[in-house]
């Protein structure tokens, strides 16, 4: 299974994402730059975390309007899997590929710690290697992860099982509505989440709770 990683100025978790995808899939992902208008044929496109364009205007706002994101939207419309982590999630909501918005943390503080995540929907390409309701650990590191959606959108997300990850056991680090940590598109191929599963894939990271997400998405045996 082939993957690609989107590169934008100001991202800083791109190397982590490339390392995780290389280790798990056995081949290095293709990389695509912000001005690229075509993305090679891949099964999974990853948008890493960081601070694209210095978080100017709103987190992810400028990145979401770069040419590469039109190419991502075209691929997503064809059913290619897309995962956005942290700033990648912010970029996906700014690009309109996922609903809602990510606002400043309710505490106004940057949070960098490990949280517990509940698998709220294990019936997705990304979470099929987890059990429903399973609690996993993942690191978070963000200033703007406070997910917000209007009441109608929220009801639809909850009703359709589009809430995939929830902060568990009182670990909500940002005030996110309904403890939402990650959501998936209606068609089930675009996932955005604030936590960093790519940073917990092997013993050297202190655990591998995030590994099954990539193995599931890439269809790789555990």
């Amino acid at each position: 299974m082939k993957s690609a990683v989107v590169l934008l100025p100001g991202l800083n978790r791109d190397r982590d994402m490339i390392a995780a995808l290389t280790k798990i899939s056995g081949q290095a992902p293709a990389t695509v730059w912000q001005t690229d208008t075509e993305i090679p044929d891949v099964d999974l496109i990853a948008i890493p975390g960081g601070f694209s364009f210095g978080d100017y205007l709103r987190c992810g706002a400028i990145a979401a309007r770069m040419p590469v994101m039109r190419a991502v939207a075209e691929k997503a419309a064809k059913g290619v899997m897309v995962i956005g982590v942290c700033n990648g999630f912010q970029i996906l909501v700014e690009a309109g590929l996922l609903p809602g918005a990510l606002m400043r943390n309710a505490s106004l503080k940057f949070v960098c710690r490990q949280v517990k995540l509940e698998i709220a929907n294990a019936n997705t390409m990304f979470t099929r290697r987890y059990q429903p309701g399973q609690i996993i650990r993942t690191p978070v590191a963000h200033h703007d992860g406070n997910y917000f959606a209007d009441a109608d959108t929220l009801a639809r997300l909850e009703g359709e099982g589009q809430v995939v990850f929830r902060y568990a056991e009182g670990t909500n680090p940002n005030g996110s509505i309904n403890d939402i940590a990650g959501i998936i598109s209606e068609k089930g191929n675009v996932l955005g989440l604030m936590p960093h599963p790519e940073n917990l894939i092997e013993a050297a990271h202190g655990g591998s709770d995030g590994r099954a997400l990539f193995e599931g998405a890439l269809g790789i045996a555990a």
């Binding site: 706002a61 700014e94 400043r104």
Partner: protein
């Protein structure tokens, strides 16, 4: 040339923790009687366009496409 000002504000019902912190800081400075504080953004733009109606339409498109996130924000366009 047309000069314009765009004001972007949070929609009602959207939590504004920054506004809240400013509200607390103002009361800490002794400004009593300050109710709710909501933080927003102001953009001053210069346009080469000379037709005001056309400029206004362009400015609205700019807000919808980039300057405001209409999920959480409202905007107002003023032409000088």
């Amino acid at each position: 040339m047309i000069k314009a000002r765009i004001t972007v504000t949070l929609k009602n019902g959207v939590l504004d923790p920054q506004g809240k912190a400013i509200e607390h800081a103002l009361s800490g400075l002794g400004f009593g009687g300050v109710g709710q504080v909501r933080q927003g953004k102001v953009f001053d733009l210069e346009l080469a366009e000379t037709d005001k109606a056309k400029a206004k339409a362009d400015l609205k498109a700019m807000c919808d496409k980039l300057l405001a996130n209409t999920v959480i924000e409202n905007y107002a366009v003023e032409i000088a």
